[in-house]
Amino acid sequence: MIEFRKEFFANERDDNLNEIGKPTRRQDILGHVTGRSPYFDDHLFEGLLHIRCVRSPHHHARIRRIDISAAEKMPGVVRVLLGKDVPLNLNTLLSLLDFGLDDEPVLSETKVAYKGEPVAAIIAESEAQARAAVKMVKVEWEVLPHVLDVEDALKPGAPVVCDVYPTNRFIYHGKFDHQKLRYGDVEEAFNRADHIVEGRYQMSPIEQAPMETCGAIAAPEVNDRFVCFTSTQGLFFSLGTAAKLLTMPSSRLHFVGGTVGGGFGGKVDSMHEPLAILGAMLTGRPCKYAWDREEEMQVGAPRGAERWYIKDGITRDGRIIARKFTGYFDSGAYTRLSSYAIIKGVGHLPGPYTIPNVYADVFCVYTNRTPATAMRGFGITGVDFAIEAHMDKVAETVGMNPIDLRILNSYRDGDMKAHRRLAKNCALVECCQVVAEKGGVALSAESRSATSLTGGGGERARLPARTATDQAGAVSGFKGGNYARKGGGASGPQPVAMPVAAPAPAYANSPQRPAAPAYQPAATAPPAASPPTPPADTARHGALRFSSLSGFRRR
């Protein structure tokens, strides 16, 4: 039941709007209730062919040989696809946004890094025939040791999951093997804190489980174009990905989508469109590639698992003066969107609390699990669970009511946040007050009289006088800017060597002027020892468009 508490921030809001705050009908509801909304699979084609993939039964294995001769002779089989049939058989989703190295094949040719990874695709007259032929493909595997735990994957000698990232870590901004947040000096603050509270938090992968499984149907159209009906959540994202992998201009692709049977983040990975279109290109007939429920659960990318270590320094009266995070995102075998989840997550740290010293090292780790991707608030939900569980632990340590503790430490309007933006439109204090009221929790007099509008700014708007920085985890051989070239050509520079740099002196001083944040995004610094960069305006196109992702936003 929704309850509007309009007494809060009444002067900041106009309640006489035509649509907002008033019930309305969905524009697509008539189609939904009459069963006529056209989902991707609700388009009938004469002579539709069905694609099903041959998948790895192993977590990690080298492919010695794939024998498709028996499968090709099976009834109804029109064509068997292998990695060599894919025009550009290596991609990373965010290459469209100039972020990350191409790391994942459409159909693997040399090795598989997770259970269920596709190595061949059968195109047959019926789904049953495709299923039968899948069983006839013989793959000779050389099983490799696998790693399923993020911290195990970072130990020396751990199996290398993805050759593109030989230390099982994604490379951020071409400079570091993790994403850093440095704000003030946590070690100095820990020394003067009255209490130190530490915690370890972990969550499992979560499957989005949309009612409609992921899929696409592609068919030859007139004028040498292909039409593609898809369940994608990101139509132009999938269009760009298909154009890249099939090395064709996107003008030859006619994508139709938007009516999606639930996605929740699980339908952005663009796994189906390229293969369906490739099938249509090579057979000249309409092709459908869709997961059944078992595939959706086994190989559909979930919200990735996260593990967090949090260490807080607290004063006797419950003020948190320092918070240090070490985070491990389980990306699974390939990057997909986990690299981005971390950028988003680190921007969110230390949670909605004003803490003058914050530190985070967050690793995007490759393991032999199903690749992870987007899901409702990904990058935020897992660490929020950790933060709020930790807040309760802190409250217990200092002997405070957990809601009082939250109100005491909440952002107020005008406070400087750890990612160097001023907080505005804060409402956590008021949320806490309503929660306490609903839950019958007695708050302190200070908490009852607190508001988000008061107590912020001033001293609290200043950046820390000193921020301790370091070079731990620095890498060389990666470029800072465009990781992947656009236009479907060869991917960007490959890592030549990646020795972890000798630990630089910790907490080197980097004095900053309090008024204007002088934080320099890593990527804008000249990259060390990297090949010449292509002309900036073409190469940087994607990065600028998606500037908020990599922290390059300028005002």
Binding site: A128, R131, A132, D292, E294
Partner: protein, 269 residues
Amino acid sequence: MRVESYNTLAEAARAMGPDAVFMAGGTLVMRDVNAGTSAGRVVRSADPALTEIRATGDGFSLGSGVTMARVLAHRDLAFLAPVARAVGGPQVRNMATIGGNIFAHHPYGDFAVALLALGARVVLAGQGGAKPLDDLLRERGRSGGTSPIVASIEVPRPRDPRAFGFVKVSRIKPKGVSVMSIAVNLPRDGGRMRGARVAFGAMGPAPLRASAVERVLEGQSLDAATIARAAQLASDGLDPPTDALASAWYRREVAGTHLRRLLEKMERG
């Protein structure tokens, strides 16, 4: 894959073989057909005997094709209604048959657990006489050979409806699959339990009797001390599986608690 339909059960029984599976309501067999993992031949029959419900001297003879929904709708089968209601959602209950349930692997097969506790006997198509369900369930686990077709099931009516208890433990309500199910039949003679039968579902490769519990109950009155002893031995001799719902360890740990709660509820009447 071939689909063969026969007018009579006798013909269907003759058509069975190691490469064939008999399909009743389809809720189990069609899953395999859809996934391309079913037997090479699917045998069906429209024999009206499959859906007959007859009262016999001490109970009922139920055609194996009787659905859960029909059990629910039948006034005289009220003692089985809570069991039928625990199976699937409404659509599944309209399709799933009591005969098919005998062949369901965990986390399905709750109805068979109740039949086992009630001491039901099965009549196999093309074979004379009835045999204990216990025997069929024991044979079910063995691979190879020709699977029989159950023609009908003879279910004794509990003399006192309060002597029969059933619980299905699931994580989702109202429709969730079994962490385990427990069925208990405790006929009493002058306050003492005689011929106690206790069966567990999802605690082994097929529904199983908990013999240790039955021995503890036999000849006793259902009091707190007896219940405590029974709960302690609940998972004795069972072989719980580990699946997506629960580990074998967890099932073993909680079996006693769920049995105790069920027995206490029955004790209260």
